[in-house]
Amino acid sequence: MIKYTQTTIQTPPIEEIFHKTDKYRGISLFSASTDLDKEISGINPVIIIREKELRKGNQLSKITDPLKEMDKLISEYGYLPEPVSLMGYISYDFKDRFEEKGLYEKREQGVYPDFYFALFEHYLLSSRVGNESQLYTLEFPFEYESVQYNSNYRQEKETKTHGTSYYRGTSLDKDLYEKAVGKTVNYIREGDIYQANITRAIYGETELSPLESALELYRSNRISYGVFASIPGGHVVSTSPELFFKTENGRIMASPIKGTITRSKDEKSDLNNKEELLHSEKNIAELAMIVDLLRNDLSLVCRPGSVSVPRFPILMTLENVYHLYADVHGELLPGTGIGEVLKKTFPGGSITGCPKIRACQIIDELESTARGIYTGSFGKISFNGNSIFNIMIRSLFQSGSSIIFNVGGGITLLSDPKDEYEETIHKGTNIWKAMKMENISEEQYCTEE
């Protein structure tokens, strides 16, 4: 039996939360610059599930099916209250473990574990609105190294950082990336796929500490499914805007987004933009494809007849842009654990392409390096079975002073290699601005700012 206590504490500043996450191998899942910013942070991992081992405090045991172990833990500790959860991730490279042998190449990025979930000693549920936060502290019935949660963090007077980052190259340069896009278009024409997401990695060195990187990125963008994590191998910061799926009370939901148009201050042209997006055949077709793909993947774990798309498409109105999206709902088959859901649905269709298996094979062929955690999923599973997982895009991976982030896009039949390359540069801008990266050789290829 795991005992727990719940205390109300004064909400710490985000700097303090990230500091503790950094220091005690924690994971923070957060949103930023939305209406109701909140964070859930796990501090000091006590139970850790990796691909081949289960660690409970000081004891280590070998396992063969980490997803099954995860579902077992969830049912074993079903009495733990909602904010307490298994937090962690599956890297994109883990996909071959869920498929028929031989379909995918075995790829490894090598720096971070491919599979990592933890149950922590402390959970802090905090919000940027209001002054009170809830701290849950767990007491485990076996030997482990405990840490105290103290609110004695003193904020440095100067929170602005002065470090810079330096560009160190990319996995696919302009020529190679454009060739990869061309080959993808060819595969589409030949009937192999309808779409594929082709990405590349950008490498750099930074003078910023992982904590500083996290804070810079936290302030850089509107973030819906953010992550700051200190894991074996280094640190991860995600500014992801994208949900993979969430489950609540036996129901599962995904909300794929496709299509974006900027908003205008002028009322008339704003309305025009909105109408243009709502009638864009290209965007609606791409959204329909991902909706059909998600219907399919959710159907693998849902009661027949329960998967539905109540409205299509739906307009999302944000401060600066309009998006198109749709909700896909389903009712989970009784007894389906989240480990099972992940096994059947991972990786998220929006970052592979469609049909998914052939798209993943083409990605293996055309991308020169393993994706690692990029386009995998970070999330949490509560002990009542509720869960939420993101898609790991717009993320920074920092190991010591070396940093990697990745950019890419969905390639369709009508994609132009040059435009697609430029698009990847635009997608990276927010991250390299936040990281104060210098001498990015790609920027010369941009025709507009």
Binding site: E100, L103, I188, R189, E190, G191, D192, I193, Y194, Q195, E281, I284, A285, E286, L287, A288, M289, V291, D292, L293, R295, N296, D297, S299, L300, R303, P304, G305, V307, V309, F312, G349, C354, P355, K356, I357, R358, T412, L413
Partner: protein, 226 residues
């Protein structure tokens, strides 16, 4: 008939099992869905289950040798990547189990291309490839489209198509064209003149295709239901 309907609804709401249908004296059917490593196969599976909840459907991949280990009442061919020649054991299965025994078969997208290809037609990249787009198709009031008003809005996901036009297909194969895209001449559905084979190029399992329930129901009524 009324009884069957009640059973259908009963199964629908309570995860009623096909075996219980046998127990209650209703003939169940064992239907094989060959999955060509596609991402829409489960949509098709659930559509079929919704229309015939009392039947048992099994999804197996096209390289899975266990498709030969059982006797099936019908075959459904899923969509999938690449062309009809890249479908694993499908051709062998079709020749050994379906064709000689006059078993019903429904092909979707790659499944329709397979049928046309089997009878000698050429499958090649189309000038009008579309993915996730709705089109209007003109349908004949027969086979899959009995009782369906033409034109119908359906969803297309295909880069490849039958190279020959409707006339050439009907002249040189035992197949008949039952639907054609309205704004082009792309063949959108086929049936066999004598054998219980029907097929569509579009995707009935897409959430934006209209009248899909009726098309599937037509197939079951014509070839599988007792």
């Amino acid at each position: 008939m009324f009884f069957v309907k009640i059973i259908r609804q009963f199964k629908y709401s309570f995860q009623f099992h096909a075996n219980s249908a046998i127990f209650l004296g209703i003939m169940s059917k064992n239907i094989l869905i060959i999955d060509n490593y596609d991402s829409f196969t489960q949509n098709l599976h659930h559509l079929l289950l919704r229309i015939r909840p009392e039947y048992s459907f099994t999804v197996l991949r096209n390289r899975d040798g266990s498709i030969f280990e059982k006797t099936w009442d019908a075959l459904i061919i899923s969509p999938g990547p690449k062309g009809p020649a890249d479908t694993g054991l499908l051709k062998e299965f079709f020749e050994k189990e379906i064709l000689p025994n006059n078993k019903p078969m429904l092909g979707v997208c790659l499944g329709m291309q397979f049928l046309a290809w089997y009878y000698g037609m050429t499958i090649s990249p189309a000038t009008d490839a579309r993915h996730g787009r709705t089109v209007l198709i003109d349908v004949k009031n027969e086979d899959l489209f009995s009782g369906i008003k033409s034109p119908v809005k359906v969803v297309r996901y295909n880069s490849l198509a039958i190279k020959e036009n409707a006339e050439e297909i009907e002249l040189s194969t035992p197949l008949q064209v039952t639907a054609i895209q309205k704004d082009s001449s792309m063949v959108m559905a086929l049936k066999h003149r004598e054998l219980p084979f029907s097929a569509m190029q579009f995707h009935p399992e897409s959430f934006l295709t209209e009248e899909a329930d009726l098309m599937i129901d037509n197939f079951f009524k014509a070839f599988i239901d007792d």
